[in-house]
């Protein structure tokens, strides 16, 4: 049963999720001005699913039940499904210019589904059956699930079991006949507060000494002992300013990250999908990371589409749209953005079926995709700033443009002065020029830069993580043989 966007927002109100910000508990977090834009982003994943013009990407038939479900809860059944996932993400990036947060759950579903199948094959466990039942529950209720992987990690030179504080990695502290008790945290969790449920995975490959850290499970977001501390974003308190609109750049949408703390949380057996089988932690991590590195070839491209559009509008409003170097910069931005999309589509087209039956992306190409994502959005925003001009960071506040305080010899107000001196090409108003420049400020170095820049760098794994995977998958020995044949080397 698909939820509407309104039903999704109302469903959040029914949760007792514990959220803390600025040192205090936030009681009505659904309507909090700093949180609500991120909820609106997730709501868009429901809204578009209702619209016939987008349903082909947003909805799909469940492989488990045959019912129509939101694609975010789907197990990919083909390379076509993988491609449509990327296209859906591009679409949502275009509609929100933000991170819409629901991808981590989708990527976790597919990674846990295939990994549990293989754990059961080796150990005779029943994780796959449990997970399949859980996913049917998620699909039936059209839930948002935070796929949570990243532990705080403490001293990066040490394994989980070697850490000074054992809680630096989430771990099992007690095993009971009916379930397990876990302790620790998951850091910078995208959309965690906006999620009905959390699906937890280990964060790195492990050895036997780390087996109590090899754990995967699902839990309600408002479970006993679970709470979240909201992550700050650059310029975030602008959203708290009374009547704020233009200065926000993107008033209605935004991303969200939080620290999710597990303070001795009980997990019933039917929701445990990995419990000390340490030799499968790496597989789960690698598969999730692969899917998530593919995801960025869709979502960031959609945001990039909006950035390119905004830069082109800024050029129009500045009267610089006919300058050849501006045209060339827009071409370069488009080239970079579409290259990212090519990577997302390529790793999908080269996907393959897992033993469990769902489709996995091509790992090498997905890692190449994400490696490019760590670079190209930075160049795209650099070019956007170049085209936009310095005004995007030196312009007075929206309140100045609207001020009727008299300051001029002839009675001109602050608003009159601002609107006069910050006017650009006569094709548009000063306000529209200000709106597009504020959007660029927000995406290049304001609160949305969290999603478009730093998340592009570190989300789904930092650049070095992809380089390790590229080295593993790069097939260098075969390439040496090719060179030997061409060069006439016989050895």
């Amino acid at each position: 049963m698909l939820m509407t966007a309104e039903q999704y927002v109302e469903s959040l109100r029914k949760l007792n999720t514990r959220v803390y910000m600025f040192g205090e508990k936030i009681e009505n977090w659904v309507d909090h001005p700093m949180i609500r834009p991120s909820i609106n982003c997730v709501a868009m994943t429901y809204k578009l699913a209702e619209d016939p013009q987008y349903a082909d990407l947003m909805t799909v038939k469940s492989s488990l039940t045959g019912e129509t479900i939101n694609r975010f809860a789907h197990l990919h059944q083909s390379t076509d499904d993988l491609r449509k996932k990327v296209k859906m993400q591009r679409l949502l990036g275009q509609k929100t210019a933000s991170c819409f947060q629901r991808c981590v759950g989708m990527d976790a579903f597919n990674a846990v589904f295939s990994t549990t199948f293989e754990i059961d094959q080796k150990y005779g466990t029943e994780y796959h059956k449990r997970f399949t039942e859980y996913l049917k529950f998620v699909q039936k209720n059209d839930l948002v699930v935070d796929g949570a992987m990243t532990d705080p990690k403490g001293d990066r030179s040490k394994a989980p079991s070697q850490q000074e504080d054992p809680d630096f990695f989430l771990h099992i502290v007690e095993k009971r006949p009916d379930g397990i008790v876990v302790r620790g945290a998951k850091a910078h969790q995208t959309g965690s507060i906006n999620s009905h449920e959390h699906l937890i995975m280990p964060t790195i490959a492990m050895t036997e000494a780390d087996k109590s850290y090899a754990v995967s499970f699902a839990i309600e977001s408002d479970a006993e002992g679970l709470f979240m501390i909201y992550g700050r974003q650059s310029c975030d308190t602008r959203k708290m300013e009374e009547g704020a609109d233009i200065d926000l750049g993107n008033k209605n949408f935004g991303g969200q990250e939080a620290l999710v703390v597990f303070d001795n949380v009980f997990i019933p057996n039917e929701r445990v999908f990995l419990c000390e089988e340490w030799d499968f932690a790496g597989m789960m991590v690698e598969r999730f990371a692969g899917y998530h590195r593919q995801s960025y070839g869709g979502c960031k491209v959609g945001v990039g589409d909006v950035v390119i559009g905004a830069a082109a509008l800024a050029a129009d409003y500045n009267g610089a749209n006919k300058a050849s170097h501006v045209k060339d910069k827009l071409i370069e931005m488009t080239h970079l953005n579409e290259t990212l999309y090519c990577c997302g589509i390529a790793c999908s087209a080269e996907g393959y079926p897992t033993a469990a039956g769902n489709y996995q992306i091509d790992l090498l190409l997905a890692n190449v995709c994400k490696q490019n994502i760590t670079r190209f959005p930075y160049e795209i925003v650099r070019l956007a700033e170049d085209i936009g001009g310095g005004l995007m960071v030196t312009m007075p506040a929206e309140k100045d443009f609207k001020s009727d305080t008299k300051v001029g010899r002839n009675g001109e107000t602050i608003g009159d002065i601002c609107n006069k001196y910050f006017g650009g090409s006569p094709v548009t108003s000063t306000e529209n020029r200000m709106r597009i420049l504020r959007f660029l400020e927000n995406i290049c170095l304001g609160s949305s830069a969290v999603g478009y820049r730093t998340e592009s760098l570190h989300g789904a794994g930092s650049p070095q993580a992809q380089r390790i995977m590229i080295a593993r998958q790069g097939n260098i020995e075969a390439k040496k043989e090719l060179a030997k044949v061409i060069a006439g080397i016989k050895e």
């Binding site: 013009q53 082909d56 990407l57 947003m58 076509d80 449509k84 296209k87 859906m88 679409l91």
Partner: protein
């Protein structure tokens, strides 16, 4: 006549797909209905509206007695209208 409509998902359309449907709908006002396609309904025709040349809309799940008319560019609107007109004409001939 009832013509089921299926849009692609619209990830990067090169034209306004909704406007294209409205133009086609307006041309056939009172003669052809254009509901959004649903499964378990048999349509006289199916109109698939893609946003670009890949035209990746899924439509095999829908049933149509007649043709599946597929478009992916604004310039196809006229062609689609002509195609549906010719289907209507052919049907009339069959009845006569």
């Amino acid at each position: 006549m009832i013509c089921g409509v299926r849009f692609c998902g619209g990830c990067n359309p090169r034209y306004e797909r909704g406007d294209a449907l409205e133009k086609i709908r307006k041309h056939f006002l009172g003669r052809v209905d254009f509901p959004y396609a649903e499964e378990d309904v048999v349509y006289d025709l199916l109109l698939v509206i893609g946003g670009c040349s890949s035209c990746c809309a899924s439509h095999c799940q829908y049933e149509a007695r007649g043709d599946r008319v597929i478009m992916w560019d604004q310039s196809h609107i006229e062609e689609v209208i002509n195609k549906i007109e010719s289907i209507i004409t052919d049907q009339r001939r069959e009845i006569i």
